[in-house]
Amino acid sequence: MTSDASGAARPLVSVRQLQFLLLAGLIAAWEILPRAGLVPPVILAPFSATIEVGFTSYGIFAPALMTTLGEIAAGLVIAYAGGGIIGLVLGSVRGLRLTLLPLLSSAYAIPFVVIYPILIAWIGIGPQSKIWFGGMYGLFPMALATAAGVQLVDERLLLAARSMGASRRQQIFEVMVPATLPALVAGLRLGGALVIIGVVVAEMLASTGGIGFLITQYRTMFQTPQVYFGVLIVLVLAGGLDWMIGRLERWATPAHRTREAR
């Protein structure tokens, strides 16, 4: 399958060009739709107004960004470390996989975000509640993706490693992690995305600071350009995280999985 793709004729526009065009189109639509009155300005603010607000409200957004960034960073640690370990262990130990994994994913099915304002009665309204909420929101997908990936590991390779005396740790890092890399990366992506969402939504629902707080505040006050500037910041955060994951992915992808090898 992959081999015919490489044989295809060179596309008319390069990937970068097309991405640029799309982005330009998107921004143009973003600018024109509200300006032309096709979309009410309380629903979508023109792009230029959004950017302008970003510059003028720099002093408000910068500290909020720092708050949010810190919360996300801490949330990522919880999600990645906790989720990765839980996923690897639950995925590789059959008994646990059969008993606990279903419970774990069922637990995730409870829409905690719906009762978040009540949850914070217990975990408090400070940054720690955002960190925990975001962390747990991202932990589950990370764990589930990792556990699913572990099932894709070739049993024979684990057998070979065990016969050579690989410890549990070595089995994980030498066999399971490389073998489950696509799954792990997906876990990092999903988990990371949900940590960001968890933190920002938590801020939106109940907090005194952070990008999410600003988004809600500006939204209830109909200051749409500010709302979209907040969204833009979240997009940039997401982009940054994705860039890092991409780097990590390229660095860690075993050569046999690269396109050329196929």
Binding site: A186, V201, V231, V234, R257
Partner: protein, 254 residues
């Protein structure tokens, strides 16, 4: 591997774990470990749940939410997997669009609710559309990862037998990707439910989300927990169905 002799033990352990949580929930407020006004004992919530179930109007709301979720999932499952396949298989399209998907995945979808109201109104369609929007990213990311784990040797084999693209997807990709896709779908269901409920909470004429929002606002805790429990049961049911399917089809993994 099949209905193994261990399965009853697994069930027992799971049942035990659930019972433990229920017991904790029951006794924490009763023993003063948790504030009973914030966390009514489990039995009270259960009682409330039974009351709700006997109320026609709540059942109607539940039915509405369930049908919104069902439709959203019926749309998003093939759509998400299809997009994921396209992104993973077509190098060009993948390189162009993957970043867009990856970025949008991390944006809290609720900020787009007004746009959804503009595009789809405030009725059934908007809930479905928002449910789709919430879930599609998870599915796409899972599918892209699942494709990466398909054994190229087996694809080569199928090609040697002249298998069409569709056939290769059905016979090689699907079984290989299954644990991953099913995991993605499970998350997908959960996110469509969250999406639908969230959209209903913001604005609705009916639906469990609207109920839950009102119960929350007016501090009707037993109703609120019962409602959340009801929605959770809905998604756990779908979850278990998917899991059963995966177990059945994925037996070969042992």
């Amino acid at each position: 591997m099949t209905a193994s002799p261990h399965s009853w033990r697994i069930r027992a352990v799971q049942f035990g774990a659930v019972a433990l949580v229920a017991a904790l929930w029951e006794f924490a407020p009763r023993l003063g470990l948790a504030d009973p006004t914030l966390l009514p004992p489990f039995s009270e919530v259960l009682k409330q749940l039974v009351t709700l179930l006997s109320e026609g109007s709540v059942m109607k709301d539940l039915a509405i939410t369930a049908s919104e979720v069902a439709l959203a999932f019926a749309i998003v499952a093939p759509l998400g997997v299809g997009c994921g396949l396209l992104l993973a298989e077509n190098d060009y399209i993948g390189r162009v669009f993957k970043p867009f998907f990856y970025f949008l995945a991390s944006v809290p979808k609720s900020v787009f609710l007004p746009a959804f109201i503009l595009l789809f109104g405030i009725g059934f369609g908007q809930k479905v559309a928002f449910g789709v929007f919430q879930a599609i990213f998870v599915l796409v990311i899972s599918t892209v990862a699942a494709v990466a784990s398909v054994e190229p040797e087996l694809v080569k084999l199928a090609r040697a037998y002249g298998a069409s693209r569709a056939r290769i997807y059905a016979e090689i990709y699907w079984p290989s990707m299954l644990p991953f896709i099913v995991e993605g779908m499970r998350l997908g269901v959960i996110f469509s439910i969250t999406g639908v409920v969230f959209a209903e909470m913001a604005v609705a004429r009916a639906g469990m989300g609207a109920r839950i929002a009102t119960w929350g606002q007016t501090f009707q805790m037993s109703d609120l927990y019962a409602g959340v429990l009801l929605v959770s049961l809905l998604s756990i049911t779908v979850n278990e169905a998917l899991r059963a399917y995966e177990r059945k089809v994925g037996k070969w993994r042992g």
